[in-house]
Structures are given as C-alpha cells and as structure tokens.
Amino acid sequence: MREPVWEYLIVNYLFLGGLSAGLFFVSALATWLQEEGRPAFPHIARWGALLAPWPVSLGSFLLIFDLGKPFRFWKLFFTFHWQSPMSIGSWLLVIFTMLTMAYLWAWLEPEERTRLLNFIPTKVRQRIPVKVVKWLEHDLSFWRRELAMAGFPLAVSVGIYTGVLLGAVQARPFWNTNLVAQMFLFSALSTGTATLILVRLFDKKQPVALAEMRFLYTLDICLILIEFFIVLPYLIHGKLSVLAVQDALAQVLGGPFTFTFWVLFLGCGLLTPLLIELYEFKPVLLGQGPLHINPRWAITAAGLVILGGYVLRYVFVFAGQASGFR
C-alpha cells in the first residue's frame, strides 16, 4: 500500500477506546475488591466510573468522522457480520458505552444526580414522562458491584478488539500475528491505570492514601511487565518468521519507525515508567516498609505510560498499513 488510508483519527480512536476500557477495568476491580463489605478503594472506583464513558464516546465520534460517508454510520447497526471485526466492534462499543453510562450513574450521589437533572430546562423536564423520571431517580448504588462484574468482559473485549481489528487482516504482515491483540489489551489497561494514578494524585479534596497507590502501582507494574513480555516475543518471532513478516518488521528495526518504536514507545513509554514504579515500590518488595510516594516521579511515570500507549498505536497503524506481501 502506498498511502495510508487510516490516519490520526483512527490512532486517536484506538487510544481513546483502550483508555476507557482500562479506566472501567481498574474502577470495576476497585469496586469488586471488598474490605468489610465495602469497596476497598472507593475513590479509585468513583473516579474511574466518572471518567470511563467519555474517551470511548469521543473515540466513537472520531470513528464516525473518519468514514467517507459519516451520515451512513447507522448502516452498521442494521446488520451483523460475525466475520468482520469492525461489525463486532461497533456493536461492542455501543453496549460498552451504555454500560459505562449506567455505571457512572450508579456512582453518583443522589444530590449529584438531582443537580444533573436540574440542568435540563424546566420546560423539557416537565415533558419527560413520570416513569422515566422515577427510573432515573432509582438508586443504582446497590448495583455497583453487579454492573462492575457485567462490565469486566465488555471492558476486556473493547480493549482486545482494538487489536483484533488490526490483527485479523491477513494482508498486513505487521499486524497479522497472534500477539497484537494482547499487546493492545494490556497497553489499554495500563493507560487506564496510569490515568487513575494521575487523577488521584491531583485530587486535592481526598488526598491519595498509601494503600490506593500500592494497589495502582502493583497493577501497573504487572500490566507493563506483561506488555513487555508480549512485545519481546513479537519482535523475536517476527524476525524469525517468513520474509513478508521480516520485511514488515524491518520498519521498526532500522526503517522509518525505528526511533519512534524503540525510544518513544519501548524506552520512554514502557521501560522508564516500569523502572520508576519499581524503584518506588522497592521498599515493599524488600520488606523495608511502605512504598515511597514521590508525586513528581509518580506523575512522570504515569504520563510516560499514557504517551507510550499513544505511540504504540501510532506506530502500529502507520507501519501496519505500509506492510504487505511485496
């Protein structure tokens, strides 16, 4: 292929969809883990719930905007083609977004819900059927855990689907390996975790607790390690594969994407935050006491993880389209 037909809108969408999946996953995990019958990390869970619906909504909007015929997007929802990852994905996105909205509603306090509803002009509000108003006033907070459980498979599906979309195309050897889907999934979960680290550090009303940071760091270190051990075999197996795959990989091994991939993604976006987080976590690992929280280091690490997630998608979208069988 000479010119890429999928460009920055798709890169942004893949990043934003993954970010939402990550935010929801971490929030759901924080809800699901209980301490004395209550969510163990309520602040993380709430922030995740408040943020999760928005990146994926923006991403879906960008996706529609990228279409040659944006006003025909509805055609996606009058048919289902199980062999087309895009068809599966568009349905998944809708269901996931609706669930994140319900989950967000469940995490709002009753006053907050009333305040939100008051934003609707009185004239319009009077026209809303009483049934719907009553339904909106329902206290969903008892359902938080159930919604979180229902959302786990959806969040994982949305995270992995962004990789499957690329990986299921046999014409592009750069994508068509069985590792791309997992790489995108764990990168997505990691960017979600990093965003919550940032949000918790900047939250002045409820300063972050040590246990929360420990939870987020543990999660992020695991996710980055898993991602690293997916990227490594991706490179090794690719280099040892057939000529078409070797040619495709040459783009990050000496070709135009070498710097972006090795320095910006692998160096800055994966290994540096891993080292920072491991350093902060070291006292816990060695049993010397609680972890350090140096906000500057933590913010740097989280920012780099988010940058790495974006760069990964950039490299894959563009290098993948440039790969082929000749």
Binding site: G68, S87, Q170
Partner: protein, 184 residues
C-alpha cells in the same frame, strides 16, 4: 447433453505480450468513469540486470476476484460482496467508506473514490459481461495480453490456455485464491 454448470469468471494474462501501452488503463477509465488520480488497473514495471544484460517485465494487474476475498469478509455492512459467478463487487449505496477493505486487500486493488467517498474497484465490467460482451480492458488490448472467460466452460479459450500452458497466480500465500492467471 452437458449439464449446465455455474459460471466462474477469471482472466488469463500473457505478460510477455504486454508492451506497456496502457490502453487497458485508459479504456477502463473511460468505460467506468474512474475519477482522476485513482485507477482500477495498472501495469507493474520491473527492471532487472545490468547493462548490457537487461530485462524488463510488464505485469498488468487489477482486482483478482479472489475465491476467498478478504475484502468481503471484513466489510462491516455487507456492501462488498461476491456474485455467484465469482465477480467481487461493491454495493455503493451500502458502502460507508470505512476503508477497511482497502486495507484488507493484499493486492492493493481498491481505492477510495474522492468524488463519491465510497470504495471503488475493478468490476470485471460486470455490466458488459452480463450482456455477453468482454471487459473493456480485454477488448481494447492491442497485443492480446488478456483472455477473459468462464473457468467452468471447457470450450472457452481461457480454459484451454490454462489446460495447455504453465501458469501462476500472484502471491498465493495470502490464502485469498486469486483468479488472475499469469502464463509463464
């Protein structure tokens, strides 16, 4: 009486006869109203060797109308489809312009139409074939590179060429089952 079998259209190309005159490209553009800047067919030119021992090859190429077209599989709305006779087409009214099929085609045979914002490709001139005529590129070719016909008709010139001459398809490892046969 021979049983009437299903048609399967394909094309045989004798690249050694090609002189790179590009009449096929022009005929296709005129017949199918292909916009400026995009093409439904092309001629791949390859040069090899060193002076004075030089070799140049011309390989005409277009949509291979594959047996298992990956473009049809990935299409989310079903706009890309394959006819009973093997011809792969796009229903322009159902195409949303997501460009997934352009990416999924290993032969880079599809393009984004800058005027209609849908995806375009070679149709084997289905509108002509249905009336018993030949595709425009076949009819126009001055050096008779192209032979179009029904694979399932033993009396067709295409069938006889494939039975008697050695041939190959491009990049069979894609698994798509391409149906443009190049004589060796």
């Amino acid at each position: 009486m021979a049983q009437k079998t299903k048609k399967r259209y394909a094309m045989v190309l004798d690249s050694r006869k090609c002189i790179d005159c590009k009449a096929c490209i022009v005929a296709c553009k005129a017949e199918n109203d292909v916009p400026l800047g995009v093409f439904r067919n092309r001629i791949i030119v390859e040069k090899a060797g060193e002076y004075p021992k030089l070799r140049m090859s011309f390989d005409p190429e277009q949509c291979h109308h594959c047996e298992n077209p990956s473009c049809v599989r990935v299409c989310p709305t079903g706009a890309s489809y394959q006819r009973e006779d093997g011809i792969v087409l796009v229903k322009y009214d159902d195409c949303i312009g997501c460009k997934y099929c352009i990416i999924a085609c290993p032969y880079d045979a599809r393009y984004h139409n800058p005027e209609t914002h849908t995806v375009g490709k070679c149709t084997f001139c289905a509108h002509r074939v249905d009336h018993g005529e030949l595709p425009a590129c076949v009819e126009t070719c001055p050096s008779k590179v192209r032979v179009f016909g029904d694979l399932n008709d033993p009396k067709s010139e295409l069938h006889q060429l494939l039975a008697s001459r050695r041939h190959q398809v491009m990049n069979p490892q894609t698994g798509n089952g391409p149906q443009l046969y190049y004589l060796l």
